[in-house]
Point group: C2
Chain length 376, copies 2
Amino acid sequence: VFEVNWDAEMAEKGGYPHFMLKEIYEQPAALRRVMADRVSPGKIELEEINLSTEEIKDFNKIYILACGTAYYSGMIGKYVIEELTRTTVEIDVASEFRYRDPIVDDKTLVIVVSQSGETADTLAGLRLAQQKGARVLALTNVVGSTIPREADEVFYLHAGPEIAVASTKAFTNMVAAFYLLALYIAKIKDTVSREELAVYIDELLKLPKLAAETLESSEEMIKGRARDYHLQRDAFFIGRNTDYTLSLEGALKLKEISYIHAEAYPAGELKHGPLALIIEGVPVIAIATRMSLYEKTLSNIKEVKARGADVTAITFRGEKEVEKSVDHVLYIPKINELFSGVLAIIPLQLLAYYTAVEKGYDVDQPRNLAKSVTVE
Amino acid sequence: VFEVNWDAEMAEKGGYPHFMLKEIYEQPAALRRVMADRVSPGKIELEEINLSTEEIKDFNKIYILACGTAYYSGMIGKYVIEELTRTTVEIDVASEFRYRDPIVDDKTLVIVVSQSGETADTLAGLRLAQQKGARVLALTNVVGSTIPREADEVFYLHAGPEIAVASTKAFTNMVAAFYLLALYIAKIKDTVSREELAVYIDELLKLPKLAAETLESSEEMIKGRARDYHLQRDAFFIGRNTDYTLSLEGALKLKEISYIHAEAYPAGELKHGPLALIIEGVPVIAIATRMSLYEKTLSNIKEVKARGADVTAITFRGEKEVEKSVDHVLYIPKINELFSGVLAIIPLQLLAYYTAVEKGYDVDQPRNLAKSVTVE
C-alpha cells in the first residue's frame, strides 16, 4: 500500500524502506545475541556481572532507573523480577529519581537502563545512586558509552546499532536482559527450583525463532489495522500484569511516530475514569497473554466493546474464545506467559510503523524527538 | 456564561447547579474537618490509629493500594511520606496488586484508600494483605462501610457525603490525610525535628483558609480557560515531584467529566516520547510549585512553548518569571511546597467542571462511570 522510493541510503537499510522496519526485523537475530554465551539448556551464566552470591542475597531491594522506552522495559523487569525472585523492585523515571533524595543505600542494587548509554537523567541517577553507596548495574547497548564506563557492572544488550529514533530491537533486548537477570537472581536466591529453571530457559531459547514467526504472521494483518488506524486520533491499550507493562510501550510507539494520542491503562482501572473516553469507534488494543487473568481481561474487553470500541486483541494462538468479543485478533506463538512481552511487542511495533507510513510521516526521524537525550 | 436551570434538586445542592461544584466549594470546610481533633499548633495526634511506636519503627515498608482518584492521592502520599519519613513506599493499582502475589509481610504497613469503602479491587487487596500478615490502615470517607470494617486501623476522611461521580473533596481530604500520616510517622521515627514539625503543622493549619482563597481567585480565570478548552480534544499535564503526581489527578478529572483525552507526564519525560504530540495549539498545563525544581520545569515549559503549545502554568503568587514563557498563569497562595497539592488541585477541578459545563455534559453523572466501583 505504501510507495517505496529506493535510493542510495537503501543499501545501509539492507533493502528496507526505513531503519525502523529493518530494526524490527533484526529482532530475532538480536535476541539470539543477547542470549549467546549467557544461556544454554539448563544453564544461565552472567560472567560479566561481578556480584558474589552473598552480595546478591544481601540486597534488600532493587531499584530500576530509566527514561522513555527503557523505563517501560524496566516496568516489565519489575514484574518479572518480583515474580521470580521475591525481591522488592522499585522503579522510577530517572528525571524524578535524581531530584527527590531517593531511599537508596548500600543494600540496594540499582539497575540503570539506557540504549545509548548517554541519557543525561539516567547518568545523573547512576551517579547519585553510587554516592549513596548503591551498586549500579547498567543495561546498555552502545559499548564504551558513559553509563557503562561509570557503572559498577555492565550487561551489554548486543542489539547492534539502532538508528531509528523509536527504539525496537534495543527495547526487546532490554526486556530479554531482564528475563535473564531475573532467572540469574532466582537461581542464586533459590526461589526457583533447578527443574523450573530448566523449563524457563528452554522457553527463553525459543524466543528468537518465535519472534521470527511472529513477524511473519503479523505483518499482513497489521497492515490492515494500520489502514484503519491512520484515521484515528486516540487509542487505548489495556492489559493486566506484564500485559499492562507492555501496553505502556505499545502506546508510546504509536505516540512517537504515528502521532496518535495513545495511552495505556491497567485493564482493571478502566472503570475508574478512562471508560468515559470510550465511545463508538475508539480503538482499543487489549493484550491478553497472562492466562490466569484471561477471563478478567476478557471481561474488561466486553466493557469497552459494549461502548462501541473497535477492539483488537493480542493473545496466544489457540485462545479462540476472545474472537467472540472483539473485532480483530492477532495471535502470537505460545510461550511461557512470563516471557510473552518479547513476542507481543512485535505487532505493536509494526502497527506504529505502518500507521506512520500510511500517514506519510518521517518514520525514522519523528518530529521533536532525538535518538539519544543527552541533555535534561 | 452557562445557563443554570433552577429546579427542586437545587435545595439539596445548596444553591449550586451541580453537586460537583458544591463539593468543590466545600473543600475548605472539609479540610478543617480532616484536621480537627488531629492537628493543633505544634501537635499532631492520630488517636484512632492503634499502632505503637515500636510497631511503626518496625515496618520496613509502606504499601499503598487504591484505584482511580484514590490511587493518585496515594501517589502524592508516596512522595510526601518518603520525603518526610525516609520509609520506602510502594504503590500499586489495587486490580494489579491483588493478582500478582505481592511482596508483603508482617513488616509491611498497607494503606488502602477508598472514598466509598466498598471498592471491590481495593477490598480484595486489603484481604490479601491481611492474609500475608500485613497490618492494614484504611483511609475511607463512608463510615461503617466494608473496608473500614475489615481494616485493622481506620482513618476517616470526614469529607462529608460526596454525590458527584468525579471525586473532589474526598480526594483533597485523602491528600491531607497523607500529609497528617507522613508527619505523624516522621514524628515517631524522629526524621523531622520538633521545630520542623511545628513549622509543617503551622502550614497545614493554613490550608482551609488558603483553599478558600484559591477558590475565589481561580474561578473567573478558569471560566475563561474552559471556554478555550471546550474545543480541545487533547491536553497534557506536566510537573515534577509532587507536581507530577498532582498532574495525574488533574488529567483524570478532565477525562472523567469533560471527555478530553488528557494525560499527565513527569516533565522530564517529555523528550522521551510525548513531545511528538505537542504541536500548535495543544493545551499544556504545567504545575510548578516545587521551587527547587522551578527552573527545570520552566525549561520543559519552554520546550512545549517552542512547539506552539498553549501553556497554562500553575504556580505560587509572586513567581512572576513564568509569565514570560506561558500564555496564562494561575497563581495559588504561597504554602510550604510539600503541601501545595491541596491548593493546586482546586483550579484543575474547576477547569474540568467548567469545561464539562461549556460542553453541555452531565457533570455529576458522566457517561460510563459509577460513583463507587463495587464489582471488578
